[in-house]
């Protein structure tokens, strides 16, 4: 992964999301995420957290302001460029994201297969290594409905961290996930940050990220009046 070092990795500048399209409060959102930063965003509503992640990906139309990723305004890009840029984002989402007719191992490498020309053996090797680090015995080959919820959550983490993404939008997998996932998840975040990736960790409550308190760059709360900075005591 080339390290992006020419300004904020992600920048929301007075971005007013369309309420009709997202359900997010139509107020200006402003924040900056630098390469290597890890930002916690506390959102009580899971739907709002997902929509905020969508806003960062340029999926939510704006009434005003702009959202820039790697210096590029989502609104200025054509479909091809949009998709290529989104290919550099790793996501763990609460929204359904496992197509039933695609086996899990294929769904894990799908994004990388689609956006890169890396040999499939390399991808599978990396995915298997990540799968083991997240506590799976290997790459699951069943269809998603045959996999336990915890394993599917681990597979989501594998998929998000695979391919060294520049930005990670992580809708908290720890809250509903197995306790032993915590260490590997935090280690993966640290490794990603060390190579210059930015992390936005969307949580529902404060307790989840306290273990990683020292590593957090900034904390925000997603409230009815937009993003509110929270002082870290």
């Amino acid at each position: 992964m080339d390290v992006y070092a020419s300004g904020p990795l992600l920048e929301l500048n007075k971005a007013v999301p369309s309420f009709d399209e997202s359900g997010l409060p139509p107020v200006p959102f402003s924040m900056k995420l630098m390469p290597g930063d890890c930002m916690v965003v506390e959102a009580r509503d899971i739907g709002h957290a997902t929509m905020f992640a969508d806003l960062c990906c340029g999926l939510v139309p704006l009434d005003d302001g702009f959202v820039r990723f790697m210096g590029l305004d989502w609104a200025d890009l054509g479909d091809r460029e949009l998709n290529a840029l989104r290919g550099r984002i790793g996501r763990v989402t609460h929204r359904a994201s496992w197509p039933e007719f695609v086996p899990v191992h294929l769904a894990i490498v799908l994004q990388q297969l689609h956006h890169t020309t890396r040999p499939i053996d390399d991808l599978v090797h990396d995915a298997a290594r990540l799968a083991e680090s997240f506590g799976l015995p290997g790459l699951p080959t069943q269809n998603p409905s045959f996999l336990p919820e915890d394993d599917l959550l681990r597979a989501s983490c594998v998929r998000a961290f695979l391919g060294r993404p520049h930005l990670l939008l992580l809708e908290d997998p720890l809250e509903s996930g197995p306790a032993e996932l915590s260490n590997s998840f935090l280690a993966a975040i640290t490794e990603a940050r060390d190579r210059g990736a930015g992390v936005i960790w969307l949580v529902r409550n404060n307790a989840v990220w306290q273990e990683y308190r020292q590593g957090i760059t900034a904390t925000w709360r997603l409230a009815d009046d937009g993003l509110v900075a929270v002082r870290m005591g």
């Binding site: 999926l59 091809r80 290529a84 989104r86 290919g87 984002i89 499939i120």
Partner: protein, 299 residues
Amino acid sequence: MSETDQQAPQPLPPPTDTTRDPVLAGQTGQGRLFAPVQWGLGKLAWIGRLTRRQARFLLIMLGASWGVIFESFRAHSWRRTVRYEFISTMNNIIRGGLVATMFAGVLTGLAAVSQVIYWLGLTGLATMTGSILINIVVREIAPILVGVLLLGRNGMLSTTELGLLSIGGEIRSMQAVGIDPFLLLVLPRTLAFTVAGFTLGILFSFASLVTGYVMSRMSGVINNPVWAFLDDVATAMSGTDYVIIPLKFITVGFVVGLGGCLTGLTATNEDSLRTLLPRGFSRGMLIVMVVSVLFSLDL
């Protein structure tokens, strides 16, 4: 309180600014004056909405058809995920539908030839079986039956799969990581249906022709060897048939695939399988019939 006090004129309320309140504005003389115009505009808007809603799918089909054709000629579109989807869908359709198509071809050949032998036998023209088979079975019946088989076996499957992905949110999740569902699902599936439509159509025609020959030979209507029969069939075909028949198979496959994918992809949260499947089936049938009729009209 005295009676005089009770009858004292009440102070008039301050004039209301009716221009800002659409309800009150409708009560003014000016509002009444324009009521017929507003009524007319309302009706016009209703007709527009109705037309747009009815024409929406047709317009989406036209746009997506162009999109599929345009994207299929761009090397950049053929990523390995798209190639994988194309090959796996094509294998599913052709392998899965092979037996059913051949069987349908045999049955059609039997039914058509029985009728042809009976009716032409009465007029002493039974040797024209090959020509009749080409004109009726291969040109008219085969594209419709192959279209129906494609629709029932795989078109509805695509509608269901893509519909469930749209309703469940998986399509949105794909978009969030830069995977365009049109490129990954619609393009390869539509082209796989196109290739499969041609392949199965030719196999169907072959099965019905061979069955027709066997039936004619068994009933003693013709005594020529199969090569002579096939030569008769080839002679019965005009120059345009060599273009129109394959084109019909290709077009039927294309529109069945595209229609199935788009019906699924345009599903909303208000949809379920109960609404999606009947819609997909009726649209698919309509599309197959329209294509067949359009080709028959011109030539």
